[in-house]
Point group: C2
């Protein structure tokens, strides 16, 4: 094991019983057919489930839509690449000649894929509980930030704070339609956000629920911008 | 627990320590805010990981792309709804008045979502190993069929067999371009499939690899049809 790999293992906090698995996880396809693509498939899925289970347990009041949004933010390539850089994964990569020449060791997508492959390798080597513990430890800062930040608050509050922090005015909500019978009404609400060109609509069984739904969709649209 | 739920539990093969979790998993959002949407978020992810880990281990020769294709086929709503019907999930559902009237107990998307929620509930109730065992048992027939059928064979063979079984002629492969330096050549191949209007192309570091890649994409295109 060379020094770069040893440094990376230090950041990972897990010693492989089978170091060949780690080597494979660090091998980009530019290096040959014995590469990390299958492990990436596995690790991507282990990561998704680990984060899902954490969010489900940690935030009992968040809706499915909000949980999905938080998960997407945590597992996207940019987040993974940032973690991989912090763990000095780049220097430990095994790249083909072409990628070496063109700086592949610092390419976000290569780093993100390799970190997912490492998660997959930890699962194969040590089982699910081990992989989950490694993933949650590596993600700890991001998960703590979630906790302190957005997610305990409802979508309308978060949308308002988000807009204020960008010096933008308050969003407006307007009921477009109320349908259904008295005991099962459905409210359609439009939310207009200064600076958002898309029209955001929400529905719910009360005006408040429809507004929260619309606010959540507005946050998602802002996230995509 | 009413008879319909008891029958479903028989098919599921798992007794909940906390029956309220099962009740929640069977509650559609039309019934109120205490519904199965959060459990569906969790179960969808537990299912994806369980199937990924099974396929990874079971098919060591399949590429990431082929694994992804197999997984998509197994976890799509149609497959889940079919399993849910076989398990008599419909009669155990708790629906709102509107969905009850319009036959929601046999709607594919409602059945699929509820079965995912049940997987999530098993995970919360019994932990990951239990949820994995339940999922693999319920999926057993489909997984055995995979094994016997397609997946041990390479994409070109599978494409040829698929076309033959539909009485169609053999696909043709044509090298469009060879680029790159001698030690790192890249082959671009076009695969034409009778009856497929889209043009399918594959790339690889050898002619054979490029043809397999093209054949796999052709299979994916046929799957979508």
């Amino acid at each position: 094991m060379d020094d770069a790999v040893r440094d990376f293992v230090g950041h990972l906090g897990y010693e492989f019983a089978d170091p060949a698995l780690l080597e494979r996880a660090l091998t980009h396809r530019s290096r040959g057919s014995n590469n990390n693509e299958r492990l990436e498939f596995l690790g991507d899925s282990a990561l998704g489930f680990t984060i899902s289970a954490f969010l489900f347990q940690q935030f009992p009041d968040l809706s499915e839509g909000e949980l999905t949004r938080l998960r997407a933010r945590l597992v996207r390539k940019e987040s993974l690449a940032e973690l991989a850089r912090r763990m000095e994964l780049g220097p430990a990569l095994r790249l083909g000649a072409g990628e070496l020449r063109t700086g592949g060791f610092d390419r976000g997508s290569i780093l993100a894929d390799a970190l997912e492959a490492v998660f997959g390798a930890v699962y194969v080597d040590g089982g699910f509980d081990t992989a989950r513990d490694v993933i949650l430890r590596i993600y700890r800062d991001k998960l703590v930030a979630l906790d302190e930040d957005a997610s305990a608050k409802d979508p309308k509050t978060r949308l308002q704070e988000h807009l204020q922090s960008h010096g933008l005015p308050t969003p407006t909500y307007e009921v477009i339609e109320v349908s259904g019978q008295a005991h099962a009404q459905r409210f359609d609400v439009r939310c207009q956000v200064p600076g958002l060109t898309v029209e955001v609509r929400g529905t719910g069984r009360s005006r408040r629920a429809a507004e929260q739904d619309a606010a959540q969709k507005a946050l998602a649209a802002l996230d995509e911008d």
